[in-house]
Amino acid sequence: MAAPLLEPARPATLRLAFSPDLASARAVSIAIRTFLAEQGVAEKELFSYELCISEASNNAVEYAEGYARNLKPVAEALFTPSQIELRVTDHTAGFVLPEKITAPSPLTDRGRGLFLIQSVMDEVRYLRGTKENILVMRKKRRVVPTPAAGEQDPFNPPSIEKYQQHLSESSAQMARMADELQLRSETLSSIFRCCAELGRIDNASESFEKRLLVDLLHLTSADWYVLRMLSPDGRKLPVAAASEPDLGSGVIELPAAGGTPGGIEASVAASLTATRFDIRESSDPSEPLRAVGPEGAGLVCPLCFGGTLVGTIAVGRRNGDFPLGRLQDEVIRTFAEFLAIQTLNIRRQKDEVRNLVIARELEIAQTIQHLLLPRTLPQLSGFSVAGGWQSAREVGGDFYDAIALDDQSLLLMIADVMGKGVPAALFATTMRGLLLGLAARSSDPSQLLSGLNRLLYKELSSVSMFITAQIVHVDLKTRKLTAASAGHCPLHFVQPGRRSISTMQIKGLPLGVLPDTDYPHMTALMGTPAAVLLYTDGLTDRRNPAGKVYGQTRLKTWLRLNAIPGRSATEVRDRLATELNRFRGDADMSDDQAFLILVEEGAGAMQKAPPSKRRIRLRRGSFLFPSTA
């Protein structure tokens, strides 16, 4: 039978100080090789260790400068059967050891020493101090219990029984290796299966996690699992999946930074370190993992990749006397890492999809906005109409229209859909279409608003949106204005014989508030020359950098001074747009704004600019004007 393997409590150590010359460095390398050979290190390994000590010692000699040339470098070897550590202490100025040195070109004369050390050893660190530096080189060794065959006594050959025993031990070892190989290949195939599944399904995450965890139980012969996923705010660890329903209750609250985590899973989440546990060793009565039974034991792994915690997974057996083995531990850790990577990948994909959706929504919104504003506004004899629109976003819910009923009358309409973005714009287009249809049958503003409310109520109330609107019928022959309002801001106009601007404030509920609503109307006569201004509240609510609102008074004063005989609606509109932008300065826009203006140009009107053929161009923060026709 093979002798039991005994691991020394402390490594066997050789420590040699040597004179800083190459001959001594060489002697030290040979001495360390001899020491390691005495510990039973095989010939083919010895070359590597001799090489590393040799490279490090030569560097310690060759790069020592000034007074350091009098100091003795030290070479050490620490041997245990599972690891060999070599150290060389030098007194040079030191160097920066790169994480990974790439193979130097064969056509260069330098840089091979450290490359060779890193190639040969598992771990190389260079600890720099003020007076000395230490190069630490470690190599893990595979501990293979040497069967007695290697230590045969030639005068006393082993008996047949011993050979048989050796044979059965070898086959047991082969069986263990076969098991390991099978477990690894099953792990891999399970991972591949889940990857394939990931590619096929949309709502990948949940289904894929469950599938993976069932495989995991099977592979590790574990009895239970609890998967916890970190909440979006990073404060809680609710159960995402568990092998049995009674394990799946309870949310673990994670402590704020610096707090003490309660329970094993919370500790693992805080430390990002996998932890084995046996519930019999826990003194915490509120430990959530007690749910697995009084004798449960297992492994809790963080689901973590690149320092980002996604959740935790606990896997184990109900009977802690049969704990998971090293191999099972390794499989669980592999799965935990895989699950973390996949979860992060899925999240990243979802984010990408969301960004695509937002970009597409904006694209749609811009198309809608093109359709929303009238390309042309009617221009009747002696009167002109012009409108301006500006949005706080790429698409707004403010819009206006003017519909010529005949050559002596027209309807002016302005509206503000409460809400912004695509839904608001969609309601705006719908409403504009409905109004055109209704106007063919009635030109009475009260009836038009009631009709619009009836048609839009159901849709608006189902999404808790409403629209304020104002419709003005203008009879150019009688110079009569008839207006109705659905919760909209007042109308400003010039009355006969008045120098100041008059205001018409009409009561009425916004569209979409009640299913059947009557809208009262008001009438007034227009002065000469006529000027009528419809607007949305974004215009009077506009703030300057000092935070002051533009307000109705300022607007009315401006209108009195600017809607003067001879100016076309286009000109007045341009002046108003300039005025509003001047007032706003570099303050942010908080709301959409639109206005519609009708003026009487009268005799001696300035020559109208030819109608623009330009398409409406959307630009944030600047007014949009449809052309006049």
Binding site: A25, L51, N58, P106, D109
Partner: protein, 101 residues
Amino acid sequence: MKIESQGECLSISEIHELTAQNSAHFRDEVQAALKGSPAVIEINLSKTRFMDSSGLGALFALYRATAQSPGVILRLLNPMPEIQQLLELTQMQQLFEIVRR
């Protein structure tokens, strides 16, 4: 270390190790022998038990010294497995013809 010149062939053998300690000596000796303009240079590594990066540097110096004379064959004879591995790890086997006989 033994250096022999037979016709156009320069043979270097009996190298027990090639290290920081003796590589300068190796370099100088071989450099001197190159004056005979050999067409083939054979370095017999069959007895070379150990070599470090300075030893590799000495071989590289030889490669560089002969690079100006096209057609010169640089041959390493029978390196031990550990030395062969070292040459491969540093890709220096590309610079020499490695021959077993």
